[in-house]
Chain length 467, copies 2
């Protein structure tokens, strides 16, 4: 694709060099959008034909919503349903919801069961119902069965298509079967599962190990892998953790009677791992998954709640300050310095909290080492508290020419950094203990502690020793 | 393993139910540590024999360092070198460094090349040198070649063992070769690579597709996968992004002459994906990877730097406040209320910043949509600013019986939340533009903006209209 170099594209050349081979470049996007707006169908068609599904998903993610709608309605024939599985779920939901239900149903019926589920899951219940009504009875049945598993469970992630054979088969018979049944097998598979007549799982073997064996050998005599059968109702976070922990590439899924009903492969799990790791960082800041693609008012509304809770925290801190208004009137330096104590506490506490929240998510903290982690954080808070007490004390004493003010802020600093270490590690652990997600409310609780302790200790000590 | 239920274990029962099948339970850990301390070698040996490498890695991660050293020195025969590849890199480094170099060298020589590299990479240069000296010439050569690739590059991740065949072979010949050469092939493999005589890559084919074809078919005539050859010096973050984007299970690695030199499989990449997602959350809070396992003084020192930068920010805010000390002396309510404006700005800004930092990391923001994202964040800040202006204005006016105070805080709130939205999205984007990691310094810069703008607008307006 020919592009002219403008000053703006020059600036981006560093980015582009790195991304060139595997990304859609900003120039390509610009060209396509330009052609789209000029209704230059030939150029758009040519460009879309060249794009992989991942590229098209990226294109749709980055252009304006008007352009997106135009592209989706005018160039339907280029819209491979797989594009939507490559997209952010929120964007996929919004885009699909703007299409006629019949078209969405048509796309879903072209997909394999797990991808179809991925597409239909995020839709609003009413719209989803409309779409399901338009599906063939068979597709509907498979989808509804899939939807019957709890949200975010192994049953939703798994693929139903798999290769299972009885254990008395020989290697030769197995290879002959694979060749003969080729058409009915899943498009790709890594493992062969060995089952008894009632579909209870006996083991699994990677295909490469079957290929290497002699044709006369019995499958049962080969070195089978121990399998980690996953109950269909296991939470996807747990599934991801299991894959990570045991370095699995795929794992069988069983129903409540331990019968083999599906297989989860690692590419399904990667999205979960990514999502779960992102979830924590987003929750700590009070934003939602898919926030980037939400409409302005949706984003505003969702963020409002979190900010409102923070307002209550801030007002609580203000109430603490108001207890000392007489002292502040007398010594205005206190008003100048007080944010330092609170802010240092907040930052030190956030460090401890972030480590604890991640360690809980990755199961690196359990009751065996909880106290050791809390104790370490408290110790770190104490040491850094002492160092910063000296620094801040000297600065304050010199700034306002008052030794006692230096001593007061130094003492408050130590107190608040100890509180920060203790509560930074302790709050997530406690929240987890009581079954609530530590990432959701740790930040607010921690800020409350470090603000209240910070203002109370600094202003309180000042009121006692300086007023 | 028989355990007695104590009150403490009762508390954990909710956790344990969920984790039972795939984790080492806290009771098991307690039992092993108990036996270890009582030098009950039989119990320890029996327990260690039952554990998988992932279990043993978890055990070593969670027990005290004295217990860990005892276990490693007394029960060496149970220490499978793979345990260290399952551990946090920082913990693995610390643990290995406490062992004699000869023992570490012995363990490394038992591993495959990519795992060996994983073990030796995090070691301190001096100790690493000691270990390398003790290796056989052949192992040393392979490792040094691996270490010659840049840190965090594809060359470090890849495995050298792979299956490559010429394109003129038939399916039958390929299968015969796999069976005959079984001993020299990698332990497991997913793909067969097709190369020309000079080892340039022609394509790849999943094993299952070879097995399904007729023996007489030529490999070149089968449906080969397009390969995404990865240059050996590509950054691992980019590798992970490529795997995610294209849903790859494995990808070939090529040298600067486009010759096939290795293969990266998805299980190597999963750790990178996880690490990269964690990196952002940790960097935003100013803590290091491996912080959980660092010694108290190491952690304290590393966190100190971040806190020190934050101290400078806080002092800057204090200087802003000090400009208005006369006004505060006159109207002490300003001191009481001023943290609310700054804190709301900080929180709103953090929301916008977190979304932007993640979107940059996942390549969801590029120059095509940069301005749209910044504009959206500014708009969200404006709307929420207006809403919170009303709420806070009313509260302040009622609390201190002053309408003008209410109007002043309301105006400051809008100004600061607009600044928060604009800089929350704008700062990470700018940092990225200038080639610096947005996760590292966004928080500090953002806090500076929201503190300075918050105090300046609130106190400044008060000085103008109330003093």
């Amino acid at each position: 694709m020919e592009t002219t170099s403008t000053p703006e594209t020059q600036e981006d050349s560093a980015d582009l060099r790195e991304e060139k081979s595997f990304h859609l470049s900003d120039e390509e996007i610009k060209d396509i959008v330009g052609a789209l707006r000029q209704q230059d169908a030939d150029t758009v068609n040519a460009a879309l034909t060249d794009l992989s599904t991942a590229d098209t998903a990226e294109l749709l993610s980055k252009i304006k919503s008007e352009d997106r709608e135009e592209l989706l309605s005018m160039y339907q024939e280029h819209i491979d349903p797989l594009i939507f599985t490559d997209m952010d779920a929120e964007l996929s939901r919004a885009t699909l919801s703007a299409m006629p239900p019949a078209q969405v149903a048509q796309m879903i019926s072209e997909l394999e069961s797990d991808d179809a589920l991925l597409l239909i899951e995020p839709l609003d219940p009413d719209f989803r119902h409309e779409v399901i009504k338009k599906l063939s009875a068979k597709t509907r049945l498979v989808l509804e069965e899939g939807l019957s598993f709890p949200e975010d469970s192994a049953g939703r992630l798994m693929q139903r298509e798999l290769v299972a054979i009885p254990e008395f088969w020989t290697v030769g018979k197995t290879l002959d079967y694979l060749r003969a049944a080729s058409e009915t097998l899943p498009e790709d598979f890594l493992n062969i599962f060995i089952v008894d007549p009632s579909y209870h799982l006996k083991g699994a073997i990677p295909l490469n190990r079957v290929v290497r064996a002699r044709r006369s050998e019995k499958i049962a005599d080969l070195k089978l892998d121990e399998t980690n059968p996953i109950p269909a109702d296991m939470d996807q976070e747990e599934v991801a953790h299991l894959f990570r922990r045991e370095d699995l590439l795929s794992a069988p899924v069983v129903d409540e009677n331990d019968r083999l009903i599906g297989v989860i492969t690692i590419d399904d799990v990667i999205d979960v791992i990514d999502e779960e790791a992102q979830e924590d960082i987003l929750r700590l800041a009070g934003v939602d998954q898919g926030d980037l693609y939400s409409a302005v008012f949706t984003t505003t509304g969702k963020r409002f709640r979190w900010l409102f809770v923070n307002l209550l925290t801030a007002i609580l801190a203000s109430i603490v300050i108001s207890f000392f208004d007489a002292t502040i009137e007398q010594i205005v330096a206190l008003a100048v310095l007080m944010p330092i104590v609170a802010s240092m506490g907040g930052n030190a506490g956030t460090q401890a909290m972030t480590v604890a929240v991640r360690a809980i998510a990755t199961h690196e903290i359990s009751s065996t080492n909880t106290w050791r982690v809390i104790w370490k954080e408290t110790l770190v808070g104490t040491i850094n508290g002492a160092v910063f007490a000296v620094i801040t004390g000297i600065i304050a004493a010199l700034w306002f020419g008052s030794t006692i003010l230096g001593i007061v802020i130094a003492t408050a600093m130590i107190i608040n950094l100890i509180a920060a270490g203790l509560s930074g590690a302790g709050i997530p652990v406690l929240l987890n203990k009581f079954g609530s997600d530590p990432a959701v409310s740790s930040t607010v609780l921690l800020t409350t502690v470090t603000d209240v302790v910070g203002f109370l200790s600094f202003l309180g000590l000042a009121a006692i020793f300086m007023a």
